[in-house]
């Protein structure tokens, strides 16, 4: 039974991971990272059910708080760079290389 949830979680994680690698807009990249974190949450909760302890469910709450904090910091950085460059594309930020 847990397997179904794990497969779903792995799919979500993979979708998020591929999204980070192929999407260009920093906001979308960031949303894909959040999707990966939520895939982790699903795995935690499924495992908590399987093992019959509450640790996994509590961890899910911690992850939500951390994800919220990450949104605050991430959006601040992305908005600043958008105001400077008039673009949130990760391809445009290419001054630092080699």
């Amino acid at each position: 039974m847990t397997t179904h949830y794990l497969v779903l979680s792995a799919l979500l994680f993979a979708i998020g991971g591929i999204g980070v690698l192929v999407r260009r807009n920093a906001i979308v990249v960031f949303m894909c990272v959040e999707l990966m974190l939520n895939a982790c949450n699903l795995a935690f909760v499924a495992f908590a059910r399987q093992h019959g302890n509450l640790q996994g469910q509590i961890i899910a709450f911690f992850v939500m708080v951390v994800a919220a904090a990450e949104v605050v910091v991430g959006l601040a950085i992305i908005v600043t760079i958008f105001r400077t460059r008039r673009s949130a594309s990760v391809d445009d930020a290419n001054l630092l290389k080699y």
């Binding site: 980070v20 982790c40 640790q55 630092l96």
Partner: protein
């Protein structure tokens, strides 16, 4: 579920005294946030700087007290390990943080108003009003608090939270350089997106290991490794994704791409903090993951880390040769040093061998931390019209303009190269000899060859400084403020003392490593 309510809940036992260094740093960070909220702008810096420095020194004193008291135990219901290596790492991080704060305090390295668009009238107004963001001090304290918790975390949840507490302030701090703001903001965005990506991997690894062991406690995971029953795919995938997360944080190849960009773009004092503190903290966490949680799986992860170590050393040393920017070159050199340190991580064996490798790593981290903070402090002093003179060609003939500064920078470069009579020599010796004793001789040969390659680009800078003619419109040497002068002096003194008279610190590292990690 209803049965749960009936059971009396035991309140968790928390050893506040053992956690006091961390609590002091976090408390001071929160006090700093309150200062930002309630005091007028002109007073803030004169309140924030003493709070920051006093709390960091206080935390260092508390760490020494814990060390003398002989505390070796897992505090807070076993989730934070206050053991020998953790105390040594805390002491090192706190010392280097104090030194970095002196550099951060120093001058106008930070943006006057981060929200103002570069080149706009808003920015000009903010600059003419003077001052800079004083929020950097609480942010630094939060980052240092995270750095203290990260290597002491004894379960994977605490480790993940500490990772984020350490990283989130650093993402912001990277974007706050006063000059070359586009580079700085770009560095912040790259660091943030890649860091968030890698911490998602860390978390997924945690989830899989939780599924495998039924607990995120490092000791519980180690125990259930003994009884792998049909769940080993969970274990292997979990260990691999977890490894991606921690290897990213130490900047090991193939996860090193962020390091040069971030080190170059970030304000130099923040680079100094990251290059010393974050590296030490991340190595502590890496050791705990691989030696404590996955200790019984070493036949599986040692070959992987062998490959990672070789790749890291080669990538760091080869790409550093081609660099033309001084900060970028130091970043690649940091990658190479990460590889040298990894040679001792794979040199596991019996308890005595582990203690030897661990004490080597601890000494190396401290020695490298001081040299790197000092080197970045020198970088802040060599200025052009547009800020720091980053391009290496601008450093030509520096030895003729300012022999003292160039001489001190040479000292740091020689320490990086591992020349005798500098701290780097004993660091490299301790790490490589532990690796040979642990049977990683081939790895050490690669390490020695790449050290020689690394020595080439260090010496190239020295030759450039002393044997080239200075450019006619060369950079100016900023008159060092008290803070910067103190940082350079302290780092140079530490580099020489650890190189000439290393025995006390080697003994300290040895005794810290004797008890190994608490389980």
């Amino acid at each position: 579920m209803s049965t749960l309510a009936a059971v009396a809940v035991d309140p968790p036992k928390i050893e506040y005294a053992e956690l006091s260094p961390m609590l002091l740093v976090f408390g001071a960070a929160i006090a700093g946030v309150l200062v930002e909220a309630f005091t007028p702008r002109y007073l803030r810096k004169s309140i924030q700087v003493p709070i920051t420095i006093v709390s960091l020194i206080g935390a260092f004193v508390l760490t020494v007290w814990l060390g003398l008291r002989g505390t070796r135990d897992a505090a807070a219901m076993g989730s934070v390990a206050v053991d020998g290596p953790a105390l040594f790492i805390w002491g090192a991080i706190l010392l280097l943080a104090v030194v970095s704060v002196l550099l951060i305090n120093d001058d106008d390295q930070f943006v006057a108003q981060a929200a103002a668009v570069p080149g706009s009238a808003d920015e000009d107004r903010a600059i003419s009003e003077g001052g800079a963001h004083t929020e950097i001090y609480p942010l630094v304290l939060f980052a240092v608090g995270g750095m203290l918790l990260f290597p002491a975390a004894n379960d994977l949840l605490i480790m993940f939270v500490a990772l984020e507490v350490m990283s989130l302030p650093l993402y912001l701090l990277c974007g706050l350089a006063r000059r070359r703001r586009l580079l700085s903001q770009e560095a912040a965005m790259k660091y943030f997106l890649l860091g968030a990506f890698s911490s998602a991997f860390f978390l997924y690894g945690t989830a899989l290991l939780y599924g495998f062991a039924g607990s995120v406690d490092l000791a519980a995971i180690a125990k259930s490794l003994g009884s792998v029953a049909g769940q080993d795919s969970l274990l292997f995938m979990g260990a691999a994704t977890l490894a991606v997360g921690v290897l990213f944080k130490i900047g090991a190849a193939p996860f090193q791409a962020w390091k040069p960009d971030v080190y170059q773009g970030a304000p130099t004092p923040i680079t100094a903090l990251m290059a010393s503190g974050t590296l030490i903290a991340a190595f502590g966490a890496l050791l705990r993951v691989f030696w404590v949680a996955l200790g019984n799986l070493d036949t599986e992860w040692i070959p992987v880390l062998w490959a990672v170590a070789i790749l890291t050393m080669v990538v760091g040393a080869v790409l550093a040769i081609t660099q033309t920017d001084i900060k970028r070159m130091l970043a690649y050199s940091s990658i190479a040093h990460t590889g040298f340190l990894l040679t001792a991580v794979v040199a596991t064996g019996n308890a005595g061998q582990n203690a030897g490798a661990l004490s080597g790593i601890l000494f190396y981290l401290l020695a490298y931390g001081f040299a790197t903070v000092g080197a970045f402090a020198v970088v802040t002093m060599v200025r052009d019209a547009g800020g720091e003179a980053g391009h290496l060609s601008r450093w030509a003939g520096l030895g003729k303009r300012s022999p003292v500064l160039a001489g001190i920078f040479t000292l740091f470069l020689l320490a990086f190269a591992g020349i005798p009579l500098t701290s780097g020599f004993f660091g490299k010796y301790a790490v490589f000899s532990a690796a040979v004793a642990g049977g990683a001789t081939a790895l050490v040969i690669v390490g020695v060859v790449t050290s020689a390659m690394a020595a080439f680009f260090y010496v190239r800078v020295i030759v450039l400084m002393f044997f080239s003619d200075p450019a006619p419109e060369g950079p100016t040497i900023a008159m060092p403020s008290m803070g910067t002068a103190a940082v350079v002096t302290l780092s140079a003194a530490a580099t020489v003392v650890l190189g000439v008279f290393p025995q006390p610190v080697l003994d300290l590292a040895h005794s810290a490593a004797q008890s190994l990690f608490v389980r």
